[in-house]
């Protein structure tokens, strides 16, 4: 049986004006378990808290009820008071007789009657309270960043700056991501490489940062502060530590017909390659799908020309196991496939290209050395049509495109149009759009410059069909403002393809038990208040894996994610919320219902041996809650059919006791 003290606060006249506080403390004195009951003007004041502390000691109280303002206001205060007097802080319950009683009811009899009932409910609950102690778990002071694009790079740099070791896992042979493929960046038109490559070098040179390029995350176990990760370092058949990146092999390799993915297949590379000049790490990689030596055992040219002796045809995939305290997902995006957009003749004509291909065509390091030439005949195009929202905002066409807005296309198309007009004033540029969306600093100004200064023809309307005819592309479109059909003979058509999360994100989310939306973008812990955290504790989100983003947004989110990681890694121990779910293993069926409703992946199952009443033993599957991960929502407690799962601090018996007290 508890020894409960009841403390009724007047809150000046805030409570005492509508509630007969004396009557409340008298009435609650008669409740089971109550050994002391009093009232005072301001319980939260120093003097009020002293009354509580003294009573705890004098009456050997095991639990207290404070009838006062909302627990959202002073629960923490009174828990501290209790703790200071040696009482477990979770033995405190608050009856909210101000916000939910005296302030909303007019007359004293009504207010008093309700205050007594609320007090009884709190007493009934505290009778069933148990002291709770928050669990503690250590923190491994190392972070893992998955993805080496600008998001991952920025996050890693920021974490490393704070002094914590960071590993970047990048599945391509080099970090840099999509930004490395871009030419200029909006709205300032500075060159992407000029601002990205120094950061890549910083990463390479930072002692705190390790790069696992050409690597993938294989397995993730554990929980916040204590993740165990297996990383698969794919065989690149080149000894990274020895390769100097001189590039001799990439010039001598006889296999010249490998589509160059960095230029989106618009030119070729060799079977041994360095993706681009500023790659980090600047190490060659052999493409096993094309290497004659690896496929037939005959060739070995690269090995002969490599003075460093870095070529190793026998190299194997390697598994690296490492512990991390935090994981940042920065898996980025890709343009969607254009296969299903036959109306734009993407597969029929080389001169229908995507915007990312256009970036490469205008990039000095691209297939045309920066000269804008049509891919089909390398002629200078005189009429260019840009088509917006190809697969974006695609209502009722989920099988083709995406319902969401890809966000970046309006701005990069304005950039492309402007750059074309700037460099080649003889070129007519048309942009077909649904809406032009330019919310962002200096964005609208940028777009208006394209229209007003550069004379880009913006036409509201969608392109219906692109038909290759001779060396022209017949573009048939509608102009919604003029309300007429438009026909343009274009030399080049550029499609603003929708962007989607990288395909690797879905399996990764499963490994991380992080949730995703239907579009495979990672879900944030709270859309407004915790936008860079995943609901899974210790997993953070950076960049376009969470939703379409431009570079400034990505970099700011990357920094925010880093600061969250730093905050986590700065702790030696994690103190959990003690009000968490806990299963009664004797009653647990191991049915997985709880696991399926847990938003945090806090529940796992183990086979456990039980001694049965007839003295036999039995192995049974039972649920286990990771106290470091559980946030205490209680979804599992209702999903559990046997009632084995209960929530500490809000146990079923406690809530039922409150119900009973209110209804009696």
């Amino acid at each position: 049986m508890q020894r409960i003290g009841v403390f009724v606060c007047w809150c000046g006249s805030n409570i005492a004006g509508t509630v007969d506080v004396q009557a409340v403390s008298e009435a609650l004195k008669l409740e089971p378990g109550v050994v002391f009951s009093t009232n005072y003007q301001y319980m939260c004041s120093q003097a009020g808290q002293q009354i509580i502390k003294d009573a705890i000691k004098e009456h050997k109280l095991t639990g207290i009820v404070v009838c006062s303002c909302s627990p959202r206001m002073h629960e923490a205060t009174f828990r501290k008071t209790a703790a200071a007097a040696g009482l477990n802080p979770y033995m405190v319950e608050i009856a909210n007789i101000r916000e939910q009683c005296s302030w909303v009811h007019k007359d004293v009899p009504t207010g008093t009657e309700k205050a007594i009932i609320l007090g009884k409910a709190a007493v009934a609950k505290v009778n069933l309270n148990a002291p709770l102690t928050p669990g503690e778990s250590p923190v491994t002071k190392r972070a893992l960043v998955i993805g080496g694009g600008i998001a991952g790079i920025q996050t890693a740099l920021d974490i490393a700056d704070a002094g914590f070791p960071v590993d970047i896992v990048e599945k391509k042979p080099t970090i840099g991501g999509k930004m490395a493929q871009l030419d200029k960046t909006f709205p300032t038109l500075d060159c992407a490489a000029c601002i990205l490559t120094p950061k890549m070098v910083d990463v390479a040179q930072n002692e705190k940062i390790r790069i696992f390029s050409y690597s993938e995350v294989e397995e993730v176990k554990g929980f916040v502060g204590n993740f165990d990760v297996k990383i698969k370092k794919k065989a690149r058949y080149v000894n990274e530590d020895v390769c100097t990146g001189c590039g001799a092999c990439t010039e001598k390799c006889p296999q010249k017909k490998v589509p160059n993915e960095f230029n989106l297949g618009m030119d070729n590379r060799r079977a041994i390659y360095i993706p681009f000049a500023q790659a980090v790490p600047k190490v060659a990689t052999i493409d096993p799908n094309y290497c004659t030596m690896l496929k037939t055992g005959k060739c070995g040219v690269c090995s002969k020309v490599c003075t460093a002796g870095a070529i190793d045809y026998k190299q194997q995939d390697q598994i690296i196991e490492e512990k991390y305290g935090a994981i940042v997902v920065a898996t980025g995006f890709n343009p969607i496939s254009m296969d299903k957009f036959e109306e734009y003749a993407y597969s029929q004509s080389k001169d229908v290209i995507t915007s990312l291909e256009f970036e490469r065509l205008t990039n000095a390091a691209g297939p045309t050395a920066g000269k804008l030439l049509r891919p089909s005949d390398l002629e200078h195009p005189h009429t260019i049509v840009f088509v917006q929202c190809v697969g974006s905002r695609c209502e009722n066409c989920a099988e083709k495109g995406k319902e969401y807005c890809s966000k970046i296309c309006c701005m990069y198309t304005a950039k492309h149009a402007m750059l074309v007009r700037d460099k080649y004033p003889d070129t007519e540029v048309y942009v077909f759009y649904i809406d032009v969306r330019t919310p962002g600093k200096n964005f609208d100004e940028f777009y208006r410059r394209a229209v007003e200064e550069y004379g880009v023809h913006y036409i509201k309307g969608m392109v219906g069909k692109v038909t290759p005819e001779g060396n022209k592309l017949k573009v048939q479109a509608s102009d919604l403002i003029m309300n007429k059909q438009v026909h343009i003979d274009a030399d080049l058509v550029v499609l603003a393809a929708a962007i989607e999360p990288d395909k690797s994100a879905r399996p990764l989310a499963t490994m991380l038990t992080a949730s995703m939306d239907t579009n495979d973008f990672f879900t944030e812990a709270h859309p407004k208040l915790r936008p860079v955290e995943s609901p899974t504790a210790g997993v953070f989100l950076s960049g376009a894996c969470q939703g379409p983003k431009d570079i400034p947004e990505t970099v700011s989110q990357a920094g925010a994610a880093a600061s969250k990681v730093i905050g986590l890694l700065a702790k030696d121990k994690l103190t959990g919320n003690p009000c968490i779910a806990s299963p009664n293993e004797q009653m647990c069926n191991g049915c997985s219902s709880c696991e399926r409703v847990c938003p945090y992946g806090a529940i796992t199952y183990v086979d456990k041996e039980f001694r049965m009443p007839d003295r036999t033993t039995l192995m049974r599957r039972v649920a286990q809650v990771n106290p470091a991960v559980c946030q205490g929502c209680g979804a599992c407690t209702v999903a559990c059919p046997s009632g084995a799962m209960d929530l500490r601090g809000f146990a079923s018996a406690q809530i039922i006791a409150e119900v009973d007290a209110i209804c009696k």
Binding site: L30, M612, P613, D614, D660, A661, C663, K664
Partner: protein, 342 residues
């Protein structure tokens, strides 16, 4: 012997109901017979028997025993027993009539159960002889004569109407109050029915059910019989057999806290339940085998051992009809003891 013509039957029921609550089997909307209180227009069921046994009248499924209220260190007790009015149960079959005798030997011996006793005192049993026994009937195995049931008054229903014979003082009193609606008659029609029914009883598939293996003193012989394992294996551990059984008498006493006071009540319990007689140390029968064995050993061995050889089963056949998996006392009797009925 007195006779009431079919035409006078409703008047007879009305006359009984004038002085006491009259309960009789009535078909519900699905044609299942259940005891219902008689009211003008109630039609008595023609079914062989009711789905639930009439033990409810004396030993209801749940009944409040008392109330108590604590305040500080004082406790206030109130006896809230349901003061039953005089009542007549009409149409009880021979098997069920025997069940009252079996229950009496539990509740009316020291310490006498006053709740049960007061109902027994206030209730008058009008039994009804069987004329169309069914395949699940095996009352004759326990020496019960379905054609001539006991009870305060015995009734026979023939095409001519109802025939009555009072057996006890209570019965005589009831019959006396009905004198105006009944007439003295010969036993001819009744005897004819008895003979006809007896012939059917002999042909029943379970007519030759053997009870010799069972009875007092057989504990050592039967307790460890290997057949229990197989018989109990499919038992679901539900309480259907117990709750439809006219002789099962186990109960639990529980408190219900209304928030203002505590109501102490008792309700039927089943030895088939895993929680039955759970104590601080746990349960004393941990497997369904043990629980299953207990139910049948009690009826066939322990009860007769303490009650002059009377079996705790009356052969009403309800459990045969209602067990979800069709396991029942007949199968047990034919299997346990090794002598399988071939």
């Amino acid at each position: 012997m007195r006779k009431c013509t079919a035409a006078n039957l409703d008047k007879l029921f009305a006359a009984i109901a004038e002085n006491a609550a009259l309960y009789l089997p009535v078909d519900d909307e699905k044609g299942t017979a259940q005891y219902k209180k008689w009211a003008e227009g109630t039609v008595m069921s023609n079914a062989l028997n009711t789905a639930k046994s009439p033990k409810d009248f004396f030993f209801p499924q749940s009944e409040d025993l008392m109330k108590f209220k604590t305040q500080g260190k004082t406790i206030e007790l109130t006896d809230i027993r349901d003061e039953k009015e005089d009542f007549v149960v009409f149409g009880v079959r021979a098997c069920d009539v025997r069940s009252f005798d079996i229950l009496d030997r539990v509740f009316l011996v020291d310490p006498r159960d006053s709740y049960y006793a007061s109902r027994r005192e206030k209730g008058v049993i009008v039994s009804l002889a069987c004329s169309k026994p069914t395949e699940t009937c095996f009352c004759s195995a326990f020496g019960i004569d379905a054609t001539n049931p006991a009870g305060d008054v015995t009734a026979w229903k023939t095409e001519e109407g109802f025939f009555f014979k009072a057996n006890t003082e209570k019965g005589e009193k009831l019959m006396a109050s009905l004198e105006g609606l009944t007439e003295e008659c010969t036993e001819e029609a009744v005897e004819a029915q008895k003979a006809k029914t007896a012939a059917i009883l002999e042909k029943l598939p379970l007519a030759d059910l053997d009870t010799d293996k069972f009875g007092g003193g057989k504990t050592a012989e039967l307790f460890n019989d290997p057949a229990w394992a197989e018989l109990s294996r499919s038992c679901l551990g539900c309480g259907t057999c117990t709750f439809v059984c006219p002789t099962c008498q186990c109960y639990d006493i529980k408190d219900f806290n209304t928030g203002r006071e505590v109501i102490r009540y008792r309700c039927w319990d089943s030895c088939m339940y895993s929680e039955f007689t759970r104590m601080a140390h746990g349960n004393n029968r941990n497997s369904q085998l043990e629980r299953f064995r207990q139910r049948f050993m009690h009826k066939l061995v322990y009860y007769p051992e303490n009650n002059e050889g009377i079996f705790g089963c009356v052969g009403c056949g309800r459990c045969l009809a209602k067990c979800p998996i069709s396991m029942n006392i007949v199968k047990v009797m034919k299997t346990v003891g090794g002598k399988k009925d071939e």
